[in-house]
């Protein structure tokens, strides 16, 4: 049974036709067995693909330490990398379902255009960051407050090559949720040390990002 209803497909097709400017390659790391959410994640991607000729898919059977896994820095699955004009460092670990589906769609648009909806002040601050920052945003698919947190992180990655950002679906990676004391979502972790609770406004997110980059 398709996940996307006819009217959703129609809406997304029009949205992509209007907004996608450059190609987006969806690099998907998966595994045939022992990965509960790999197949449903693949189904989401496969239903998106035909909605724009600017979208393409590259699937890799996940093997830790393999050439592709190393190139994209992938250590868990299912993993999605969105590659536009370049690899901006936008990652999804776990299924982008529920509320996170909207994040995936918005990210595809930004990656295609190579631009974000940051305010000019925020964009300047992000672009000025001169040290690597890795952002993990812990979410659950049933959390309506989570997509804005993931979006801010992914937008930062798109604006600055030194920033990488991942959505992490907490229930699929309980060891990580435990490691970072995640008992509520969204929870954003910068470089493993600085943290931010909840769907923070842009200014507070930038403040924490800069704190991690110092």
């Amino acid at each position: 049974m398709p996940l996307l209803k006819d009217e959703d497909q129609k809406y997304l097709r029009a949205e992509f036709a209007r907004k996608l400017t450059g190609p987006v390659k969806i690099v998907f790391f998966t595994q045939a067995q022992d990965c509960m959410f790999c197949q449903p994640t693949e189904q989401i991607i496969r239903e998106l693909l035909p909605l724009s000729d600017k979208l393409s898919l590259e699937t890799h059977a996940f093997a830790p330490g393999s050439e592709e896994a190393t190139r994209y820095g992938i250590d868990k699955i299912p993993a999605i990398v969105l590659v536009g004009a370049k690899d901006y460092g936008v990652r999804f670990y776990g299924i982008p379902a529920g509320f996170e589906f909207s994040t995936l769609v918005a990210d595809i648009i930004d990656v295609s255009r190579g631009e974000t909806s940051f305010s000019p002040e925020a964009r300047d601050k992000v672009r000025a960051i001169a040290k690597p920052v890795d952002i993990q945003v812990f979410v659950s698919p049933t959390c309506p407050y989570c997509p804005p947190a993931v979006r801010l992180a992914h937008m930062a990655a798109i604006e600055n090559g030194l920033v990488t950002a991942a959505m992490v679906e907490s229930t699929e990676f309980p060891h990580l949720a435990h490691q970072y004391n995640v008992a509520g979502v969204p929870r954003t972790i910068f470089n493993g040390t600085v943290s931010l609770e909840g769907a923070a406004p842009e200014a507070l997110f930038i403040e924490k990002l800069l704190e991690a980059a110092r």
């Binding site: 909207s102 909806s117 940051f118 049933t142 407050y145 229930t171």
Partner: protein
Amino acid sequence: MPDIPTFDIAIIGGGPAGLTAGLYAGRGGLRAAVVEKLMPGGLVANTERIDNYPGFPEGISGYDLAQRMQAQAAKFGAQFVSDEAAAIAIEPKSFLVRLSSKAQLRAKALVIASGAYPRTLGVPGEKELLGKGVSYCAVCDGAFFKNQDVAVVGGGDSAVQEAVYLAGLCSTVTVVHRRSSLRAAESLQRVAFRNGKISFSWNRTVVAIEGGTQVEGLRVMDKETMKEEVLPVSGVFIYVGYHPNSAVVKDLVQLDENGYIVTDENLMTSAPGIFAAGDVRRKLVRQISGAVGDAATAAVAAQQYIENL
């Protein structure tokens, strides 16, 4: 300066009231913008199951209901702006809305449908342990407390509804309420009373939430004996009512003593051209069905206002 996008009607908030106002405005042939900073649906979107919205005898998830409302508004041409209204200025025959992103939009009439946000308890530990066991969203965070003991604070519909949801995941759920009976709807109460995992701690107020890196207990006080005890729980879900999101219009329209927007019977505020609908408005009952009714009235009244400009 690029041209400022101009609409007939700008709707602030994308919950049931805002989405319905968008639907009615769109059907009325108006150019309508719905401004919502989070996901469509507002507070409804984090309700696991809604049983009192007519037309869904089997119940519907808040997420599904919100998606349907948004799709219906979009079908009739409402435009969605993913942003937050930061300031509103009154101009001759129009309003200028400045958004958090610094973008602006202009409209001939406004519908304020910005809803309400959860109240906090204001006790020690609540802020410090947010995201470490303190939560205001059971569907977001419930899964972190699988097979653990949690408490729900409150006695209204939301508290009881979410206690039932959490009972499906957690070992035990203790509902802490400051009165000796619930305010929640009778049918919800029956479901909760029948659930073997849910117990009730009556006549108790919350003194503090205790813990270091995680919640370890909820300190409550018996209102009669003044005795304190600590409930050993690892999660505390707080549902003790709401505050209106009326800050953006506080200097423009009349608010009541609790910050809710005062309207006339056509839902116009004290400022001509600014209407209010849903939870942000002063009224007795705050339900989705009421928000939807408000929005239909406000959108039609706003259209009449525009036609008479």
